[in-house]
């Protein structure tokens, strides 16, 4: 049972990616970066993508000769990570270990809001800076933290954007169903979506939550079918989202618009075949939305890091598959940290914190800027969501198209058949 491994601290197979740092003297110094990954448990798949993104960043920095500071110091990133098994208790024990035993310089986050919440407490307790790669929860960022920085667009915007998109597609939509996983992230998303839907004059005819790990969506889908909404919004993470979509399809529920969290942007979502067709998903990033240096100039901010195409190619070469937004998020977290260290000119926490507070960048992941307000310190304020839709080509093959925003659009949105 997963619980057997809770906590226990101790060093699971550590992935030491970058070259081992050589000693103390003038040569390159090691920059230790710690995080946990969910090698087992509910968040396994998405966590793996995120870790791959982080690894790619570290590899590229190492190949490029490390992070070069103004005073001539060269920092080689070394990643230290453990398996958190998607459990909060374990996350806390392992972050304590990373900070105190492994003496990491900076922290990146685990994947998913629930785990980040747990990790953030430990990071904050120890005054370590943590850049969160894979968590969008708003509440976590409103807890008075001073050293936690969020790369993702906050959860509250996931479905509000989808509602705008939906009404742009078909203003006649009135009845909607909101069905979400009962975890920190999805609950936050739904909590923001409900008043927004109401403000748009929409009527919520089904409002349900389901436990993490649910596989039988029969009762919920029956309720949805009986209420006959025009649209279904919700979901949670990958596995449940995919299963939910399949159940909706099997029961032939008619809805013109279905938007699910997390699962649709992941390429393997298409494994369910026709059940995936026309389903919309909010995404933090898509390869076709090519942010570039020109756009940065236009927005009067600086561009940082590789171009989208280069990242995608390198990722494909390294891991044999296209990156998902979780991969790009992991990579972006590394970039954000790298830029802050370069700007600070040292790894002194106060200096890096100040640099992060000032940061306003355009990267391959999009624009990144953090709140400096005491109440929401570190919360992402500039990054924008992308919306994808699974669409069938003439030959019946399915693929994702970006349907929003206009700038990166690869196909117009279509109502679900």
């Amino acid at each position: 049972m997963r619980g057997m491994r809770i906590m226990a601290a101790a060093a699971a197979a550590v992935l030491v990616v970058a070259a081992c740092g050589s000693g103390t003297s003038s040569g390159p110094k090691t920059l230790k970066i710690g995080f946990t990954a969910s090698q087992t448990g509910a968040q396994e798949l998405t966590s793996k993508r995120q870790v791959e993104g982080i690894k790619l960043w570290a590899d590229q920095v190492t190949k490029a000769g490390g992070i070069k500071l103004k005073d001539g110091t060269v920092l080689t990133p070394q990643l230290v990570s453990y398996d958190d098994e998607s459990k909060t208790d374990r996350v806390q024990a392992l972050y304590t270990k990373l900070i105190n035993d492994d003496k990491v310089d900076f922290l990146l986050s685990p994947y998913s809001s629930g785990l980040i919440k747990a990790a953030a407490v430990v990071g904050e307790q120890n005054g370590k800076i943590m850049v969160t790669a894979g968590g969008a929860d708003d509440a976590t960022m409103e807890q008075g933290f001073t050293s936690i920085y969020q790369v993702y667009t906050p959860a509250s915007q996931y479905l509000t954007g989808a509602i705008d998109l939906m009404l742009a597609m078909d203003p006649s939509i009135k009845k909607i169903a909101i069905v979400n996983e009962k975890d920190a992230f999805s609950t936050g998303v739904a909590a923001a979506a409900k008043p927004y839907a109401a403000s748009k004059g929409l009527q919520i005819v089904v409002d349900e939550g389901y436990d993490t790990g649910t596989t039988d969506f029969g009762p919920i889908v029956n309720k949805i079918a009986a209420a006959a909404p025009d649209a279904i919004l919700g979901g949670g993470h990958f596995q449940d989202g995919q299963t939910f979509a399949k159940a909706i399809f099997d029961k032939q529920v008619k809805a013109k618009f279905i938007a699910l969290l997390v699962a649709p942007p992941e390429p393997t979502f298409g494994d369910i075949g026709a059940a995936a067709n026309d389903i919309v998903g909010p995404s933090q990033w898509e390869a076709s939305v090519a942010y570039d240096a020109k756009a940065a100039v236009a927005a009067n901010i600086s561009w940082y890091g590789p171009a989208v195409a280069d990242f995608t190619a390198a990722y494909n070469a390294a891991f044999g598959s296209a990156p998902s937004y979780h991969s790009a998020g992991g990579y972006a977290a590394g970039l954000v940290l790298q830029k802050a260290i370069e700007d600070a000119g040292s790894i002194d926490p106060a200096a890096v914190r100040a640099a992060l507070d000032k940061q306003d960048l355009l990267t391959l992941f999009g624009r990144i800027r953090f709140s400096t307000d005491a109440k929401t310190h570190g919360k992402q304020t500039a990054h924008q969501m992308v919306y994808v839709q699974w669409q069938a080509a003439a030959d019946g093959s399915l693929s994702t198209k970006v349907v929003w925003p206009e700038a990166g659009r690869t196909a117009p949105i279509v109502p679900r058949q």
Binding site: M1, R2, G3, M4, R5, I6, M7, A8, A9, A10, A11, A12, A13, K87, T88, D89, Q92, A93, T96, K97, I99, N100, D101, G114, K117, A118, V121, E124, Q125, N126, A139, T140, Q143, G144, F145, T146, K182, D183, A184, T187, G188, G209, D211, T212
Partner: protein, 325 residues
């Protein structure tokens, strides 16, 4: 005149001293990582020692004992978060829901025997967890979390963690002392009589219903205090970690590993279990098979060393016998 057993060696002071000295190490060295590990070990010692009172002494296998840990945790957490009550006060008040549930539910389910009781406790745990998952005033599935500023009144998050640790250590020591006192009191004799033969106990003048409920309540107090400390330190509480069935069963595993119905057994069992898990996880060759290995070891103990480590030690080393109870 035959020599009366017990009290021949200062067993309790020695055991408490050993635990206290070990617990003091991270405070002296100031090693937070070790403090975290020992915090968890002391927590496990508390859980195992407590469940041993109802399961080891009284013979009632409680699968759902972790429910008291969760109730104490939630109770104290809510008091701290919503009403700003100081941790020490909240921890003590947090015991109230656990004790009430133990008394009321205990009176009902302790009428059941054997597997029926075990299943009922499992049902109570799962029902509580399912309820808390849906109970929005307590945060539902997401649970509750502190605003970080709450730690300011304790001199910052670091000293709050130290306060929680010291509290946890004291709870563990109190649990061990209580276990010893129960074991060596008339009350403990009544419990063991009930364990051996409840019908005979009645005829001998023991009131099983009241005695069992008292034992259940005692065994609920320390997990509740431990829950308050654990979640205060963590800063978040959610149903999954507060009412974890696996951890509940694990505390029984520790009891059996150390020696059912003994005072030292749960302490030794919890320490060895946690140490072993740490060892397995750190060993690269064994890490991925750590659960398998843990299972095999448990099976070996259950099948071949029914009296646990304490039993093995006492059989092997007669010199140790009088020091281990």
């Amino acid at each position: 005149m035959l020599r009366l057993r017990g009290r021949s060696r200062p067993f309790l002071p020695v055991l408490l001293l050993i635990v206290a000295v070990v617990a003091a190490v991270p405070l002296v060295t100031g090693n937070p990582s070790m403090r975290e590990e020992l915090f968890f070990m002391l927590l496990l010692v508390t859980l195992a020692t407590s469940v041993n009172v109802i399961t080891g002494y009284t013979g009632y296998v409680s699968f759902g004992h972790i429910v008291f840990f969760g109730l104490g945790g939630y109770g104290a957490f809510w008091l701290m978060q919503a009403l700003g009550v100081h941790f020490l006060v909240a921890a003590v008040l947090g015991v109230i829901p656990a004790v009430l549930v133990a008394a009321v539910v205990g009176a009902a389910v302790l009428r059941l025997r054997g597997a029926y009781f075990a299943l009922a406790t499992l049902g109570i745990l799962e029902a509580t967890k399912a309820f808390m998952t849906n109970f929005d005033p307590a945060g539902g599935a997401v649970g509750l979390s502190f605003n970080f500023s709450i730690y300011a009144q304790y001199g910052g998050a670091k000293s709050a963690a130290e306060l929680a640790y010291v509290f946890m250590a004291l709870v563990a020591l109190a649990a061990i002392a209580a276990s010893y006192l129960v074991r060596h009191a008339k009350f403990g004799l009544a419990l063991m009589t009930i364990r051996e033969d409840q019908d005979a106990a009645v005829v001998l003048g023991i009131d099983p219903a009241r005695t069992k409920v008292a034992a259940f309540v005692i065994s609920a107090v320390f997990p509740a205090l431990a829950g308050a400390a654990f979640f205060f330190k963590n800063g978040i509480i959610e149903p999954g970690s507060a009412f974890d069935l696996t951890r509940s069963i694990e505390s029984l595993v520790m009891v059996v590993l150390g020696g059912v119905g003994t005072v030292a057994g749960p302490v030794i069992g919890a320490a060895v279990y946690e140490w072993l898990r740490g060892f397995l996880i750190t060993s690269p060759a064994l890490a991925s098979f750590q659960l398998t290995i843990a299972g095999v070891l448990l099976l070996v103990v259950v099948l071949f060393a029914t009296s646990g480590l304490v039993g093995v030690l006492r059989a092997r080393f007669p010199a140790v016998r009088e020091w281990l109870e």
